[in-house]
């Protein structure tokens, strides 16, 4: 049986851990609320942009711009994996890494080369250990200016696609559903997906102003940047949600542990008193 001093120390240590997890939970909740607001406001614009570009891919002549290219479904595949920079958020990072490994291995078995690009320090560490070489890593993205960073990430990706280094680009990230639920989502960023043409409708190309090249140049790069920006926000909101849930259960667990240890402490104290009493009683009887 551990002595009283030991139990007391453990109780205090668990209590201070609980204080930390509680504080982290509050911080995550506050950040989540802000992140949730920004993702909800960012979605309509980003989704409409995606519809517009897909629509464009249906109508426009695909050889008008390198980014409109059909890609190569057998060629090398680029995987863009978005994780968090920090840990202590439950299965958030490992879920993504697992999904990424699965995707990478499936593509490899199909005989395709795989190029991994990581956003987020935590996932990069995990994946570098379990997979090996990474094409590029970005970290601290949300701490700096996410919009500029999104632009950099996609411009490297677009370059790879236009020179034929990769035939397709997929993004794997956590899509924000609610504070307690995030879904790992795989989304194809490049090539764009032309919408299926409804039967009996004529497909007419747009008129472009000032010119098709000018519109494509700005629209397509802008579109990629916006989508990346949205994905970064989805992932950030998911991370805060995951951290809040994880820290909430950590706080509950710590509470249970304190209760158990307190019970143990009281029992040990009672035992000690009983032993002392017996000693006193048997001592006086012996006189």
């Amino acid at each position: 049986m551990p002595n009283l001093q030991d139990i007391k120390r453990r109780i205090n240590s668990v209590k201070s851990t609980q204080k930390i997890t509680k504080a982290m939970k509050m911080v995550a909740a506050a950040k989540l609320r802000r992140a949730q607001e920004s993702i909800i406001k960012a979605r309509p614009y980003a989704h409409r942009m995606r519809d517009l570009v897909n629509n464009l891919a249906t109508r426009a002549e695909l050889d008008l711009h390198p980014l409109l290219g059909k890609g190569d479904e057998q060629g090398p595949v680029g995987l863009l994996i978005v994780t968090g920079d920090r840990g202590l958020c439950g299965a958030f990072n490992s879920n993504i890494v697992q999904r990424a490994l699965l995707a990478a291995n499936t593509e490899k078995e199909a005989g395709r080369e795989v190029q991994l690009t990581m956003v987020g320090r935590k996932g990069a560490e995990l994946l570098a250990r379990r997979y090996g070489s990474l094409h590029a890593t970005y970290d601290g993205v949300m701490d700096r200016s996410p919009f500029e960073e999104a632009g950099q990430i996609v411009s490297e990706m677009a370059r790879g696609f236009t020179v034929g280094e990769v035939g397709e680009v997929f993004c794997i990230y956590n899509e924000f559903k609610s504070a307690i639920s995030q879904t790992v989502t795989v989304e194809r960023l490049l090539p764009f997906e032309p919408e299926p043409i409804k039967e009996g409708t004529a497909v007419i190309d747009y008129l472009y102003e000032p010119s098709s090249t000018a519109v494509f140049d700005t629209l397509l790069t802008r579109h990629l940047q916006i989508q990346m920006h949205r994905i970064l926000f989805e992932s950030a909101a998911s991370e805060h949600g995951a951290r809040m849930t994880a820290m909430d259960s950590a706080t509950t667990n710590a509470g249970e542990m304190i209760d158990r240890l307190t019970l143990q402490y009281n029992r040990a104290r009672q035992d000690a008193i009983t032993t002392q009493l017996i000693e006193v009683v048997s001592g006086s009887e012996a006189l």
Partner: protein
């Protein structure tokens, strides 16, 4: 197709989408302002900082300052994706005027091409805001 209304939808990051019914829409395209009436052909245009005017059938108009982006016209539906969207009535006139002054001063002092371009863009934004606020027709 030639009669009825046009549906105008305005989107900007961080802004709730705006949906309007209009009889005619004036859009500040990169190749000049164009007016969309029902039955307009499909069009995709870059837009510059300027004022978007949605004229309702009863003669009333809504003024929005838009700051660059894209406009899509298809099937009597105008979709505008802009970087920044501001409703004319909610704009702060004094602030826009100050910004316009500041941008003009910067243009006069600008030496490098980049500096000049940034100042010009700022001036265009401030002017668009003022026009939207003043409900200035094209």
């Amino acid at each position: 197709m030639a009669d009825g209304n046009i549906i105008v939808e305005l989107f900007a990051p961080g802004h709730d989408p705006v949906r309007l019914d209009a009889a005619a829409v004036m859009v500040p395209g990169a190749a000049g302002v164009f007016t969309v009436l029902p039955g307009h052909t499909s069009l995709l245009s870059n837009i510059t900082p300027g004022v978007l005017i949605a004229q309702q059938a009863d003669g009333e108009s809504e003024f929005y300052a838009v700051h660059g982006g894209f406009a899509e016209v298809m099937d009597d539906r105008v979709t505008v994706l802009t970087d920044l969207l501001e409703h004319g009535a909610t704009l702060d006139k004094a602030r826009a005027e100050a910004a316009q002054e500041k941008a003009r001063a910067r243009i006069r002092k600008a030496h490098e091409r980049q500096e000049f371009a940034a100042a010009e863009a700022a001036l265009a934004r401030a002017t668009a805001r003022l026009q939207a606020h003043a409900r200035e027709e094209y």
